[in-house]
Symmetry: C2
């Protein structure tokens, strides 16, 4: 198999697997189980992977980690929006 | 920066970020929020990334995804152990 296609399939599968967390947070508006510190560590790691992808000139690495940064930054934004709302209720 | 070291730091950060989920499941013995289907999709994607790493001969890709497979396979095993226990209680 073309290694480029292999990487794109791998990236698509890990991307699909990351979606339910985001969907759940949007549906339930509950961010109690999310650690913002872990999200920040994860986003830092993913950003370094993008950098790595550019250094190695590998599109699958760049694409899949950019998508993951997008998802996890959205989660982080929702964390701060919903956390305040949760605080209001208690 | 040496791109190998960059990849290893990136891998270490994404590895650290994956640990709290496992620790939480071990502590709470609660797997209610985990989807086994998503874990299977994730493990499939990570395994393809390992394959990709071997094809490209890139150690950071192989190491970080192998670690992630280990963590998520452990989660999947705990899912089936604790799900039965949860069923007993209800």
């Amino acid at each position: 198999m073309d290694v480029q296609i292999l990487g794109l399939i791998a990236g698509a599968l890990t991307a699909i697997a990351s979606m339910p967390q985001l969907i759940k947070v949007i549906k339930t508006k509950n961010v109690e189980d999310i650690s913002w510190l872990m999200l920040v560590i994860l986003i830092s790691g993913l950003s370094l992977w993008i950098w790595y992808g550019f250094e190695q000139n590998e599109l699958p690495i760049i694409l899949s980690n950019s998508f993951a940064v997008l998802i996890n930054t959205t989660l982080l934004i929702f964390y701060f929006i919903f956390r305040e709302k949760n605080d209001d209720l208690t």
